[in-house]
């Protein structure tokens, strides 16, 4: 058990709360740097996927986990990022520039969708973003001169300043660097007044407005930043998959992204990574488990959605803080041993708060 004795306000804003954290994150960084030399290319490519999904989850976490807004349309921002990257890379843009363009364009699309959608709340936002996602999907399928329609768009290998990513390992390192930068960016954002405003809006819009936070501005800002980050992930996604088609960016994909942040743990940066790892690992586990199940269940096409749904419902009912909450509880259990009590993390039961009254 470690007690942090605070003697300075600046301590509240430190990136690492204590030297132990710095040590462990350093160890994690070192491990991530060395791991591709130990694993086979297949696992390295899966790790790259985890990193790309982590960026998506960070973007969505900023919006859903920290600002409390729901979006059922983030696959559309991923699509905008991916297609921008695909088109610009074909024109010979260097990756850093095309990625920045992908982020900016995804952010601009976010402005167009977000500004009207954020006048409305909760469920309406969910439906507006869902509608937007379906429209984007249709546009991608129909705008054949730009996107290649349903046959998809071929994307070349990742190239910048005369250097080209040759294999899985180089792709992994690019993804790792960008993930680290995005993570740092989000963590820093959350330490800033803007991030505090987001969290205030999540906790209570009325009290946030009373404290002088411009709700519409900060909500739009959160939406735009979230869209931009997802656009960055889209740029990597395009290079990772090499061929992108509209059916990779459906509403179901958006729902899967939401599952990622909910299962990982809403309102925590760690949760974004846990959720991304979970969503990549689970299908692999299912593929392994299939052989041991009775054929009626194991061979059913609905096995994966059924399991995803069950796990999602299970998490919300029994572990609303997600995988990160589980981790915190386990850690606290050992830190406080034997004084851990069940009630320490109990949710307060409240009456329904009406959203119709604003």
């Amino acid at each position: 058990m470690r007690f942090i004795f605070k003697t300075d306000y600046a301590q509240d804003l430190q990136l690492f709360k204590h030297s132990g954290q710095a040590y462990w994150y350093g160890a994690l960084a070192a491990a991530l740097l060395f791991v591709p030399w130990l694993l086979s290319p297949y696992y390295v490519s899966q790790l790259t996927f985890v990193l790309i999904y982590s960026i998506v989850a960070l973007g969505l976490m900023l919006l859903s986990g920290f600002t409390g807004q729901i979006s059922l349309g983030h696959a559309a921002f991923l699509a905008v990022g991916a297609y921008t990257e695909g088109v610009l890379a074909a024109k010979g843009w260097s990756f850093p520039f095309s990625m920045a363009a992908a982020a900016v364009i995804a952010g601009l699309v976010g402005v167009i969708v977000g500004t009207p959608a954020l006048r409305v709340k909760g469920i309406y936002l969910a439906i507006a973003t869902m509608a937007f996602n379906i429209i984007v999907e249709e546009v991608l399928a129909r705008w054949e001169s730009m996107t290649g329609g349903n046959t998809g768009l071929q994307v070349g290998p990742l190239a910048m300043f005369g250097w080209t990513a040759q294999d899985e390992r180089e792709m992994y390192y690019v993804a790792l660097v960008i993930t680290a930068l995005v993570t740092l960016g989000v963590v820093n954002l959350l330490r800033s007044p803007t991030g505090r405003a987001f969290v205030a809006i999540r906790d209570s819009e009325i009290s946030a407005a009373s404290m002088g936070i411009n709700l519409a501005f900060y909500k739009s800002m959160s939406f735009v930043l979230s869209a931009g980050i997802t656009g960055i992930a889209g740029a990597l996604y395009a290079h990772r998959l090499r061929i992108i088609t509209p059916d990779q960016f459906t509403v179901l994909q958006s729902i899967e992204m939401l599952m990622m942040v909910v299962i990982g743990g809403l309102g925590s940066i760690h949760g974004a990574f846990f959720g991304a790892a979970f969503i990549i690992v689970l299908p692999q586990l299912i593929a392994v488990a299939k052989d041991y199940l009775p054929p009626a269940i194991g061979q059913a096409t609905g096995l994966q959605p059924a399991l995803f749904g069950l796990i999602l419902v299970g998490f919300i009912l029994f572990e609303p803080l997600g995988l990160y909450g589980r981790w915190v509880k386990t850690r606290t259990f050992f830190q406080l041993f034997p004084f851990f009590r069940r009630g320490m993390f109990r949710r307060q039961k409240t009456f329904m708060k009406s959203e119709r009254l604003r």
Partner: protein, 291 residues
């Protein structure tokens, strides 16, 4: 004449959207939960109907009645098991739970022998019959949908206006806490609302089945019912039906008169315009909260 023909088929399609939207609105009004699994409830209802008529050989009307009762029971149990424990949690949690329920329902259906991933046909006594009226050719299936919708809406109106339970439900939907204080058993009512909503969804499924066949992914039509509910104003029962009909007619017209591709997105374009112009819908109410 062609336009009129298109509009009639749009109206009957719109009634289906409206019925599913009605299910959303019932639950939303009472518990402020948005049920993203409404389309899946509809799918389950249709499958139960197919099971009754095809596998068990029941007469059509008996199968319909059995499916409605079973789905009502299912809705009640679902609320008890999954929604009740998270009552009062943020809207986010309830939305994700119902999305999860939808996934589970869609997944489990593929595992049930006989249902599976095949496409089924619901036998109806009026299959293939048509009515001619002054140059219009209307399939009886479409007329049945419209008639059933009108009857259901009138029945619901009477129920909410005159019955004790219906008035209690209205009270609970306006202010849950105050309803508790007045001695209304809010929790039991929530269960009943889910039962009612599941039965309405099942009815929509049974009416839709002759038009589109019964298969696992028919529940995705629920995604089109959201625009219907929003256009009508999310808290309004007549609004849901009117919204559904608007969406259905716009969709049918754009399928005929606009280039290919617009039919699939027409509903969503309408809802985005609606949210930008009049976020509370045609019949929605606006209230401001005092702090």
């Amino acid at each position: 004449m062609q336009a009129l023909q298109v509009i009639v088929s749009g109206i009957s399609q719109g009634c289906i959207y409206g019925l599913i939207a009605l299910g959303f609105v019932l639950i939303y009004k009472a518990t402020e939960t948005v049920n993203f699994a409404q389309g899946e409830l509809m799918m389950l209802g249709a499958f139960l109907g197919v099971t009754g008529t095809t596998f068990l050989g029941l007469p059509y009307w008996a199968a319909i009645a059995a499916a409605l009762v079973l789905m009502a029971l299912f809705g009640f149990l679902l609320e008890r098991a999954v929604l009740e424990p998270i009552l009062g949690q943020p809207a986010f949690a309830t939305i994700m739970v119902t999305i999860g329920i939808g996934f589970v329902a869609r997944g489990l259906v593929t595992m049930i022998p006989g249902w599976g991933t095949d496409t089924h046909m619901l036998e109806t006594p009026f299959r293939g019959e048509i009515v001619r009226a002054g140059g219009l050719v209307v399939a009886v299936e479409h007329l049945v949908i419209i008639a059933a919708t009108v009857m259901l809406v009138s029945a619901l109106y009477v129920f909410f206006r005159f019955s004790r339970v219906g008035i209690a439900m209205q009270a609970a939907s306006q202010n849950q806490l105050a309803a508790y204080y007045m001695g209304i058993p809010v929790r039991r009512l929530n269960g009943l609302i889910w039962a009612l909503s599941a039965a309405v969804a099942a009815l929509a499924g049974l009416l839709l089945a002759p038009l589109t066949f019964v298969h696992v992914n028919m529940g995705f039509i629920g995604l089109k019912a959201f625009p219907a509910a929003v256009v009508g104003g999310f808290g309004s029962l007549p609004g849901a039906i009117v919204g559904g009909i608007i969406i259905g007619v716009v969709e049918a017209l754009s399928g005929v008169y606009l280039p290919e591709g617009f039919k699939d997105v027409a509903a969503y374009v309408v809802v985005l315009i609606m949210l930008a112009v009049r976020p509370n819908g045609l019949f929605g109410e606006t209230m401001q909260k005092k702090v």
